[in-house]
């Protein structure tokens, strides 16, 4: 277990470093100068070639790439002072740079926005499992019945509607016109758990119910398979209650494939949910990242991309550990 963790954390770190180098290089060598957007904005669209060079100098693009990347990477562990033209900014470690747009510290922005995204991810993913797996198991138990067929058909219809439409309609109908739910609002959990819950409830329901349709299908499928296994027949032949047979014997096997998909889904939720944040006006890192891409705000893009890379790596390690707990035949090595 220990050597597994060390190995996986080392290889995971390597992946994260490679991703950050790639993002840096893409910006650096991309078709348009990374300073162009900023130059246009700050000169009211009168960015002359001379002005552009000035902006490139100011952002450091006239230095060699490894030097600039080195400065950025060093900032993760050591305090650094960032000089933009004539202005100087103190950036304490872990420093992710400063946003080109408003010169704010990326680390501070991240600390403010990431809890919003985490809250959304926690609620939505809990509903994926709670609703998706429960309904999937119930459908598998009644496979072939009218209820099962209706359920499978309705999840297909529901998940064929684009997500942004579902989210937008829910917002328009449930918040704007009928105020069944109050306007979505993020309140830190530690400040007021109740407000945290009620402020995000609608958003969770929209994300969770929509995502749960896929989980209903996965878990129904793997549950149908598990219920057909010989060891489930053995469990029934022992005289166990059907409920015990389903939950203890069939479900445990059926969860294994579901967990894999769940791990990746959580990683993607943690890297931000653009539509959800935009529609419900929540300041998470998804919206932040998209806005940063539009104006080529490299430090912010770098930060949000790293969140995805780290989430994927961490969730994969967690999934492997959960695997080994569920299935004793899996050895962590």
């Amino acid at each position: 277990m220990f050597s597994f963790l060390v190995k996986r954390i080392l290889s995971g770190s390597l992946i994260v470093v490679l991703v950050s180098v790639m993002i840096y290089a893409l910006f650096w060598y991309g078709p348009k100068s990374p300073a162009l957007e900023l130059c246009r904005r700050d000169t009211n669209n009168r960015c002359t070639p001379a002005k552009l060079v000035e902006f490139e100098d100011r952002l450091g693009y006239s230095n060699p790439i490894y030097e600039e990347y080195g400065k950025w990477a060093k900032g993760l562990v050591a305090d650094r002072t960032i000089i933009h033209g004539t202005s100087e900014y103190d950036c304490p470690a872990p420093c992710l740079g400063i946003s080109y747009r408003d010169k704010s510290l990326v680390t501070d922005q991240f600390k403010e926005r990431f809890p919003v995204t985490v809250s959304l991810a926690v609620g939505a993913s809990a509903l994926y499992l709670l609703i998706g797996v429960t309904v999937g198991v119930l459908a598998a138990r009644r496979r072939g019945s009218v209820a099962d067929k209706a359920l499978v058909a309705s999840t297909l219809v529901f998940s064929s509607i684009p997500y942004y439409l579902v989210a937008l309609l829910s917002f328009l109908i449930l918040t704007l016109s009928t105020s069944v739910f109050p306007e979505a609002k993020y309140v830190p959990f530690l400040d007021d758990p109740l407000a945290w819950f009620s402020g995000l409830l609608l958003v969770w329901l929209v994300m969770g119910l929509y995502g749960a349709t896929a989980y209903t299908r996965y878990s129904r499928g793997s549950m149908v398979e598990a219920l057909g296994e010989d060891y489930v027949r053995t469990a029934r032949a022992k005289g166990l209650r059907m409920r015990t047979v389903v939950t203890k014997h069939a479900l445990r096997s059926a969860l294994v494939p579901v967990i894999t998909i769940f791990g990746l889904d959580v990683a993607f939720l943690l890297s931000g949910t653009v539509f959800t944040e935009k529609i419900f006006s929540l300041e998470g890192i998804g919206k932040w990242g998209i806005d940063a891409v539009n104006i080529k705000d490299l430090p912010v893009v770098q930060a949000t991309t790293l969140v995805l890379a780290v989430s994927v790596v961490v969730m994969n390690i967690i999934v492997d550990i959960v695997y080994s707990i569920l299935d004793p035949r899996v050895r962590l090595a």
Binding site: D230, L240, H249
Partner: protein, 357 residues
């Protein structure tokens, strides 16, 4: 209410059992009009090819068929209690308790995620709700020891994949016997095992039967297993009984060409080198659309000996055989003994024909 059965009373009586499964393609007639009985301390061997209804009929004894998809009629009495139509709750009290079943392929039949000991203890505690975890564990340990698993105190905390094939089947048997069942149904218990281990498992079952005086049904396609284990034999074909009687009668004086076919297709290393192994031609019939008349007629080498078109048009009744008390057969042949002696025996066991001369 039934009284406690003693040795000699039939413990299990199956009467006119029919099991059908409606499917999208039509009605599958898995078992039709099947009757047999087993006494305590005795072993019944049910023989037949894949799809002949062996497993389906014994799963009906435990009520393991899906109630929504299986149509079951007829009567199954376990110690005098009618099981067909019994409530799920009452059925559950029987399962794994008075009637236990062990399956072939113990690797697939044991849960891969739970320790052997936990799976045995679960079977015990289901029917002994007052037993503590500790009691259940020591009972599991006792059973593992009884079925001859070495180092049971270590093995009890291992998973099925850490056991060898023979050990897994022993553990399966230990689980089947943990609640002292009066009837044990063993569905091809030795099929996935190599020959030496097969013999050990059969010996073990015989020992345990003597110790606990339980009734055993052994389902197999291997007549060698039947010869070794069974007191009575039921030969099934296309969901029906085609020959039924004491093992001695059925194996030495078979009167149904399908049984002859089974006997001819048993490989025997000790046999005369002139003996031939003759497979039964063709494949088992579809149970969706069974052949008319005798279901075996398309594969039967002796159908020409029956006058008229009887084999093709009329299903023979299960009637007393020429020889032996309680020996039943389903065949139109007028003198099956003569045909067996003249045509079948010289092919499969020439040495026996020599002896007779």
């Amino acid at each position: 209410m039934s009284t406690a059965p003693t040795s000699g009373d039939p413990y299990l009586v199956v009467d006119d059992l029919t099991v059908r499964f409606p499917t999208a393609d039509g009605l599958v007639q898995a078992v039709t009009g099947l009757s047999y009985q087993v006494e305590l301390g005795k072993t019944l061997g049910i023989v037949g090819e894949s799809g002949s209804g062996k497993s389906v009929s014994s799963m009906a004894v435990l009520g393991l068929h899906d109630r929504r998809s299986a149509q079951i009629s007829g009567s199954i009495k376990v110690a005098g209690t009618e099981v067909v139509g019994l409530s799920e709750g009452r059925m559950r009290e029987l399962r794994g308790n008075a009637v236990a079943m062990i399956f072939q392929d113990a690797l697939a039949s044991l849960h891969p995620f739970y320790k052997i000991g936990a799976q045995l203890a679960e079977a015990y505690r289901t029917h002994h709700p007052k037993a503590t975890k500790k009691e259940a564990r020591s009972r599991a340990l006792e059973m593992l020891e009884r079925v001859g698993i070495p180092q049971p105190d270590k093995r009890i905390d291992q998973y099925p994949h850490q056991f060898s094939g023979g050990m897994r089947q022993r553990a399966m048997i230990a689980m089947g016997l943990i609640n002292d069942p009066s009837l044990l149904i063993a569905d091809e218990p030795t099929t996935a095992l190599d020959v030496t281990v097969q013999a050990q498992i059969l010996d073990l079952l015989q020992d345990l039967q003597q110790e606990f005086n339980s009734a055993i049904i052994i389902i197999t396609h291997d007549l060698g297993v039947v010869a070794e284990m069974a007191d009575d034999v039921l030969v099934m074909y296309a969901g029906r009984a085609v020959e039924y009687g004491s093992a001695k009668e059925v194996l030495t004086r078979p009167e149904m060409p399908y049984t002859w076919g089974l006997l001819s297709s048993v490989p025997d290393v000790a046999a005369d080198t002139n003996a031939r192994m003759i497979p039964i031609p063709g494949a088992p019939p579809s149970l969706l659309d069974p052949p008319s008349g005798c279901p075996f007629h398309p594969r039967c080498a002796h159908r020409e000996k029956v006058p008229g078109d009887l084999c093709r048009t009329e299903l023979p009744e299960l009637l007393p055989a020429v020889h032996g008390e309680g020996h039943l057969k389903r065949c139109h042949l007028a003198d099956p003994e003569a045909v067996f002696a003249a045509e079948v025996l010289p092919e499969i066991a020439p040495e026996m024909v020599e002896e007779k001369r």
